[in-house]
Symmetry: C2
Subunit: 143 residues, 2 copies
DNA sequence: TTTTCATGTCACTAGATGGTGACATGTGGG
DNA sequence: CCCACATGTCACCATCTAGTGACATGAAAA
């Protein structure tokens, strides 16, 4: 377990591609030999492309590989997905209610366009808060 | 709501980048004007880079934008994340138990290396199943 | 042993992506 | 009105990514 942030990044990046998501769907049903996975995508992709995708999934620890003779078996590892989703959702759960109510506020504001004064004053108080916050240091990562 | 698959893809792709995830973290706390988001990443990125990221989040409907005068306010929309994660996790939930037990089997097999005969016969039965399956038509998407 | 089967590896490529600077436009305050 | 502020847009670029064909290697069957 090297760097949790880097590992999480690998998972998100792996899941960004629809082919890889499809591969995981297949493996969720049952483990497959690499050739079987390849056969499933035969019409869409060449063998090496599929293998590359599998390699990315392995690097992200979403897939576990086991050799048996000349067969390479791929097993789904559902734990990272679950962890990443859980962590992501739970981190936002405490903010969900307020976020949803804000959206509601916005949609209501959108319906009654005449009440432009109200959100304008609200936006000013928000701005003041934002500036005085000590979270002005960027959480961004330099690439 | 054009094409659900394409929309889901936008979400996954949006979440693949760590900067964009950081932006969503910020917006989960409180809505921010674009300039405020930019300021948070000042040390890491130029303004237009941040705006590009925001645009991707908007396209994925993870962020909702509202103009007020010269201010552009960004609101987190937690719904797509939740939906995507829920759908993804629940789709695999029925497979999680079997997948976990398979992994367990593998790790146990790994510990007792002498029992190579057992998994070898098991792999053959799996192979037979895979071939007779009518899921041989690829679920992959041609790019 | 040879041949077939399953997979590995590598080089290459077209397109996508994340980043930048420069110029442009619109809003709001003095 | 002018100027400052906030954001928009565009062209460019280095790097990454998803895909391919070709050659290589190892296991298993004939």
């Amino acid at each position: 377990m090297k760097n949790p942030t880097a590992e999480v990044d690998l998972v998100w990046k792996a899941l960004a591609d629809s082919t890889r998501r499809s591969i995981l769907d297949l493996l969720a049903e049952r483990p497959l030999a690499t050739g079987e996975v390849v056969a499933r995508f035969e019409k869409a992709l060449c063998r090496t492309a599929v293998m590359k995708h599998l390699e990315i999934l392995v690097q992200a620890k979403l897939v576990i590989v086991r050799r048996e003779g000349k067969m390479r078996w791929n097993y789904l590892n559902p734990v990272p997905i679950q962890q990443v989703c859980d962590r992501w959702v739970s981190q936002h759960v405490r903010q969900v209610a307020s976020a949803v109510s804000r959206l509601k506020e916005l949609t209501e504001d959108r319906v009654s366009q005449s009440t432009t004064e109200r959100p304008s004053s609200a936006s000013k108080s928000r701005r003041t808060k934002a500036i005085s916050s000590d979270r002005l240091n960027t959480p961004g990562e330099k690439r």
